[in-house]
C-alpha cells in the first residue's frame, strides 16, 4: 500500500526526487488543510467546537485544541504523541510553556483523545518541509486511514523522532506564543493600558509601571474567546528559561512507585483475560483445533477460533495461557514451510549477483570508477525483534453498539480506525483510550498491531470486556521485525588513498533510500536496492533502515581505510566536505575519545559516523574480546549534533539508550527461521544486553550547531554496531561482517 497511495490523493506538488512518492498523501493532506496551523483545520469548525466542549467539560478554557488554562492557573497540555519513555511529552510541554511564559510547576501533560479533532496537523506540515524521512514509519498506517488523512489530515503518530522537531517546532511553540498574545490583549483591555507596556512571567501578565499583575487563570475565560494569531513571533533562544533546561521528566514519579498504569494494567469489572496463538508459520491458517483440553482447565470459559489463530478466554491470564498450552492446534503453512534464514540469504545473494536492481540512487559513473579490481566485502544482518518490555495487551468492550478499547499505541487515532475497519462500526461508535506504553521502538505502529484486529474480533462476540495479552512467546514469533538483509559493497582507491567509486548493493524488502544519508563526497556513488520479500512481517525498528545501512557503510569505510593503509578517522576526514557538520562531529569525537592514544593490550578503538533523522552521531568505542569469545565494550565516546536540544538530560538518556540498543543487537540479537517458523521462543534465546554487558563509561557530548532540530530517540542506534565491529577489528584483526557477533563467537 505504501508504494501507491490511492488516486484521490494526488500530490499538490510534483515529486522531485525518488522516495518522495510514498509520502505523497501527506502533501495532498496539507494542501487540503491549508491554513490550519493550530491543530484543527479552520474549515472544520464543528470538530473545533466539539474538541473545545470536550476539554472544557471539567472546567477551564481551551486554546487551539492543545492547551487548557484553568481558572486556578493550572495548565494542561494535550499531547498528540505517545510518550514511550523518550521524554517527548515533557519536551513538548517545555516548548509550549516557554512561549506561553507559563509557571512550569503548574504544567501537566495528558494524552490527547484519539479523535479527529486532535489529529496532529503540525506533524503533517513538517513532513512537507522535511523531504528526507521515514517512509517505513508511514507504512504502518492502515489503508482506511490513508484516505482519512487525505480528507482531513489526521495524524497522531509517534515515530521517526518527530515529536519535538515537528509537532513541537511547528505547532506547540506557536500555540504557546499565540495564547500568550491573547492573554496580553485581554489584560491590556482589563487594565486599560497599551499592550506593549505589558510583560509576561510565570503565568502572570505584569504591568510594571503600575505594579499590577493579572493571573493567567483570571484572564483565560475571556482570552479563550479571541482569535489566535496564526503567525506569532517566537522567542529568541537567548530568552529561554524552560527550553534547553534539564527539566525533570513529568512521567517519572509514577514510574518509580508502581502507580503508572500501562495498557496491560487496565481493568474493569467482569473483565476476562484472553491469550492467543497465531499460525507459527506466518501466512498460514488455522485448520483445526480440539478445544476440549483448554475447556478442561479450571477458569477457562471459551476457546475462539480466528482465521489464522486460536484464542483462549478465561478468568485470568494463568488459566488462559494454561488452556492455550493444553491445545494442539493445526495450522497450514501457507506455502511458506520451506523458508529459512539460509534460504533468504541465498535468495538475496542470487538477486544481487544477477544485478537487476529494483531501484538505484547516487551520482557519477560508478562502473568506470570501480575499474577491474575493486575492493569488495559482503555483509549480512538478521531479522531483529523489538522486544519491548510490555507485551501487547489491549482491553476491548463491545456493548450497546459501542466499542471501547484501552491500551498503548504509537498512533491511537490510526489504531481506532483499524478497529473501525475490523468491526464494521461507524467511527463515532468506536473509542480508543490511549494508555502508557511499556516500550515500542516501532513495534506499536498500527499496521503491525494485529492485536487491534484480534481484540476487536474477540470483543464483538463476547458479552463482557476482554483483555487480550500476548505471551512473550507469541511476541517473539509474531514480530514486525527489522528485515533480514544482505549487502555487497565495492569501491576502488587511488594511489593517493582516495575513493574513486563506491557501490552499495543491498537486498531486503524495501528500499532504504529515505533513511540513508551518505555523508562522504565521492566522485561516483551508487546505492542499488534488490527487493526480496519473505513470509515475515517486517517493520520499523528503532532508526529503521539506518541501522543496516549504517553498519554496511561504516564497516566498509573502515575496511577501505585499512586497505589504503590510513587511519580510519583520517581516511573519513579526507572524504568529508570541508566545513561540514559531519566533519565537525568526527573531529570532536576523535579529540574527546583520545583517538590514537595508547590502549591497554587487547583493546581496540573503532569509529563510526551516521546521520539519521537529521541528527549526526559519531561513536568511538573501546572494546576487547573476552576469554569466552564475546566482545566487551569498555567505553563509548559519543558526539551528537542534533541542531539544538530541548531537554539536555532527556536527550542524553535517549543517546545512552539508543547506543545500548545498538550494541545489544550487534552482540546478541537474531530472529532466525527454519521451516518457515521463528526458532527463538522467549528472552532466554533472544538475548538482550544486560547491566554487565553495558559500557561502564559513556561519555556523550552535544554540539548544538544551530541547524534545524533533528531527532534524538533513534540516531544513537546506527553507529553503535559498526563502531563496535571496527573496534574489534582493531583489537583482533578479525573483521565482523555478519551480525550478531554472538554467533561467530560461538562458531
Amino acid at each position: 500500500m505504501a508504494d501507491n497511495p490511492t488516486a484521490e490523493m494526488q500530490p499538490a506538488a510534483p515529486a522531485k526526487r525518488k522516495g518522495v512518492k510514498r509520502r505523497a498523501f501527506l502533501i495532498g493532506g496539507v494542501a487540503v488543510v491549508g491554513a490550519g496551523l493550530f491543530g484543527i483545520s479552520i474549515a472544520d469548525s464543528n470538530a473545533a467546537k466539539s474538541a473545545k466542549a470536550r476539554l472544557e467539560s471539567d472546567g477551564g478554557h481551551s486554546f487551539a485544541t492543545w492547551l487548557k488554562i484553568g481558572e486556578d492557573d493550572s495548565i494542561t497540555i494535550y499531547s498528540p504523541h505517545t510518550d514511550i519513555g523518550q521524554g517527548s511529552n515533557t519536551g513538548l510541554a517545555q516548548m509550549l510553556a516557554e512561549e506561553l511564559d507559563a509557571a512550569w510547576d503548574q504544567v501537566r501533560v495528558v494524552s490527547a483523545p484519539a479523535e479527529p479533532a486532535f489529529a496532529n496537523v503540525g506533524l503533517g506540515r513538517a513532513f512537507l518541509a522535511d523531504m528526507t524521512g521515514q517512509p517505513a514509519i508511514i507504512n504502518g498506517i492502515p489503508q482506511s486511514f490513508l484516505s482519512f488523512i487525505a480528507r482531513q489530515m489526521n495524524l497522531q503518530m509517534t515515530g521517526g523522532s518527530t515529536a519535538l522537531r515537528f509537532t513541537g517546532r511547528v505547532t506547540f511553540q506557536n500555540v504557546g506564543a499565540a495564547t500568550r498574545l491573547a492573554l496580553v490583549e485581554t489584560a491590556a483591555k482589563r487594565l486599560d493600558v497599551p499592550a506593549d507596556e505589558l510583560t509576561t512571567q510565570d503565568s502572570h501578565v505584569i504591568h510594571a509601571k503600575s505594579g499590577r499583575a493579572l493571573r493567567y487563570g483570571e484572564l483565560a475565560a475571556e482570552a479563550a474567546t479571541l482569535s489566535l494569531d496564526n503567525a506569532p513571533k517566537l522567542k529568541d533562544p537567548s530568552q529561554y528559561r524552560i527550553m534547553r533546561q534539564s527539566m525533570q521528566r513529568l512521567d517519572i514519579p509514577a514510574k518509580v512507585d508502581g502507580s503508572a498504569q500501562y495498557g496491560i494494567d487496565f481493568s474493569v469489572p467482569d473483565m476476562r483475560v484472553a491469550t492467543i496463538m497465531a499460525a507459527p508459520v506466518r501466512g498460514g491458517k488455522l485448520t483445526s483445533v480440539d478445544t476440549a483440553p483448554a475447556l478442561a482447565v479450571k477458569g477457562v470459559e471459551k476457546v475462539i477460533k480466528l482465521d489464522d489463530a486460536v484464542a483462549v478466554v478465561a478468568k485470568g491470564y494463568w488459566p488462559a495461557i494454561s488452556g492455550l498450552r493444553a491445545l494442539t492446534p493445526e495450522f497450514a503453512d501457507g506455502g511458506n514451510g520451506g523458508i529459512s534464514t539460509a534460504s533468504i540469504f541465498k535468495a538475496q545473494g542470487d538477486l544481487m549477483a544477477k544485478g537487476d536492481a529494483d531501484s538505484t540512487a547516487g551520482d557519477g559513473d560508478v562502473q568506470a570508477g570501480l575499474g577491474a579490481k575493486p575492493i569488495e566485502a559482503k555483509y549480512q544482518v538478521p531479522f531483529l525483534h523489538h522486544a519491548m518490555m510490555e507485551p501487547f495487551a489491549l482491553t476491548a468492550h463491545f456493548k450497546d453498539g459501542k466499542l471501547n478499547i484501552w491500551g498503548g499505541m504509537q498512533d491511537p487515532l490510526a489504531s481506532k480506525m483499524m478497529a473501525v475497519d475490523v468491526s464494521g462500526l461507524d467511527a463515532d461508535d468506536v473509542t480508543f483510550h490511549p494508555m502508557m506504553i511499556g516500550g515500542s521502538f516501532g513495534r506499536r505502529l498500527p499496521m503491525y498491531m494485529e492485536i487491534v484486529g484480534q481484540v476487536t474480533k474477540l470483543a464483538m462476540q463476547l458479552p463482557y470486556p476482554v483483555k487480550l495479552i500476548w505471551s512473550r512467546e507469541e511476541e517473539i514469533v509474531q514480530g514486525a521485525y527489522r528485515p533480514q538483509s544482505s549487502a555487497a559493497l565495492k569501491a576502488s582507491l587511488t594511489k593517493e588513498k582516495r575513493i574513486t567509486a563506491y557501490r552499495n548493493d543491498y537486498a531486503q524488502p524495501e528500499s532504504a533510500e529515505s533513511e540513508t544519508v551518505f555523508p562522504y563526497a565521492l566522485p561516483a556513488v551508487s546505492r542499488r536496492h534488490f527487493a526480496h520479500v519473505s513470509n515475515q512481517q517486517t517493520g520499523a525498528w528503532r532508526s529503521v533502515n539506518s541501522t543496516q545501512q549504517g553498519f554496511y557503510n561504516e564497516s566498509f569505510m573502515d575496511e577501505l581505510a585499512h586497505a589504503a593503509g590510513e587511519d580510519p578517522v583520517v581516511f573519513r576526514r579526507n572524504h568529508l566536505k570541508a566545513g561540514s557538520r559531519h566533519l565537525r562531529v568526527l573531529d570532536e569525537v576523535a579529540a574527546r575519545s583520545g583517538w590514537g592514544s595508547p590502549l591497554p593490550a587487547g583493546r581496540g578503538r573503532g569509529v563510526a559516523l551516521v546521520e539519521s533523522f537529521r541528527t549526526i552521531v559519531a561513536h568511538v568505542i573501546e572494546a576487547s574480546v573476552g576469554d569466552d569469545g564475546m566482545p566487551k565494550v569498555h567505553k563509548v565516546t559519543t558526539v551528537v549534533d542534533a541542531g539544538s536540544i530541548v531537554n539536555p538530560d532527556a536527550a542524553m538518556a535517549q543517546i545512552e539508550g539508543g547506543t545500548i540498543m545498538g550494541l545489544s543487537s550487534a552482540i546478541g540479537e537474531a530472529i532466525t527461521l527454519e521451516n518457515g517458523a521463528v526458532q527463538q521462543s522467549n528472552l532466554a534465546d533472544y538475548t538482550l544486553l544486560k547491566m554487565a554487558g553495558a559500557p561502564l563509561v559513556m561519555d556523550i557530548h552535544f554540539l548544538n550547531s544551530g541547524a534545524d532540530m533533528g531527532g534524538i530517540g533513534e540516531p544513537g542506534v546506527p553507529p553503535a554496531a559498526p563502531a563496535l565491529a571496527n573496534a574489534l577489528f582493531a583489537a583482533t584483526g578479525k573483521r565482523v561482517r555478519n551480525l550478531p557477533i554472538l554467533t561467530q563467537a560461538k562458531a
Binding site: I84, G85, Q86, G87, Q248, D251, I252, P253, K255, V256, D257, G258, S259, Q261, Y262, I264, D265, S267, V273, G299, G316, Y317, W318, I321, H386, A387, M388, M389, M436, G438, G439, F441, R472, E473, P648, D649, M652, A653, E656, G657, G658, I660, M661, S664, N682, L683, A684, L688, L689, K690, M691, A692, A694, L696, V697, M698, D699, I700, F702, N704
Partner: protein, 163 residues
C-alpha cells in the same frame, strides 16, 4: 483452601489455584499492578518482588510456595507516611526510567542488593542486577544505586555542555 500470606505488611488469604504464579495473584487477585509481566520464564526480572526479603521472580513461583511468607511489592516500598524509599528517590534524581515498565523490578532488585551488601561495587551490581531494560537505562541504574548508597557517581557522566 485459601493460602495465608502477607503482602506489604498486611495479612491476606489468597483464593488462587495453588499452581498460579505469584505474579498473577499479585496483579489480578490483589490488583497491585506495579509488578509487571515481561516473559513468564524468570528471564527478564520485570516481575521481581521480595519474598522474605529475597529478590524473587514472581512469574515463575507458584503461589502455594509463599504460604506463611512475607511478600513486598513495589507498592510496599514507601514508608507508612508515603515517603519514598531512598532508592526510589535516587531513581528520580538520576532520571532513570524511560518507558518505565521494567523499573519496578529493577528497583526491587536494587533494594535487595543494597540491603545485602550495603554499598555494592560495580562488579556486585553487574552480578546482581540481571533484570532486562530494553530502553537501555543501565548506566543510570548504576548511577542511582551508587547515589542511594552515598557513593559518588561512577558510571555515566552528568549532562554537560548541552545549552
Amino acid at each position: 483452601m485459601a493460602i495465608q500470606t502477607s503482602i506489604n505488611g498486611k495479612p491476606v488469604a489468597l483464593a488462587a489455584e495453588p499452581d498460579t504464579p505469584l505474579l498473577w495473584v499479585i496483579r489480578e487477585e490483589l490488583g497491585l499492578t506495579g509488578t509487571k509481566f515481561g516473559c513468564g520464564i524468570a528471564a527478564c526480572g520485570a516481575c521481581t518482588v521480595h519474598v522474605n526479603g529475597e529478590p524473587t521472580r514472581s512469574c515463575s513461583l507458584p503461589v502455594s510456595e509463599v504460604a506463611g511468607k512475607s511478600i513486598t511489592t513495589i507498592e510496599g516500598l514507601k514508608s507508612a507516611d508515603g515517603t519514598l524509599h531512598a532508592v526510589q528517590k535516587a531513581w528520580i534524581s538520576a532520571q532513570v526510567p524511560q518507558c518505565g515498565y521494567c523499573q519496578s523490578g529493577q528497583i526491587m532488585a536494587a533494594v535487595a542488593l543494597i540491603e545485602k551488601t550495603g554499598s555494592p561495587s560495580d562488579a556486585q551490581i553487574d552480578e546482581a542486577m540481571t533484570n532486562i531494560c530494553r530502553c537501555g537505562t543501565y548506566p543510570r541504574i548504576r548511577k542511582a544505586i551508587h547515589a542511594a548508597t552515598g557513593q559518588a557517581a561512577k558510571a555515566a557522566k552528568p549532562a554537560e555542555g548541552a545549552a
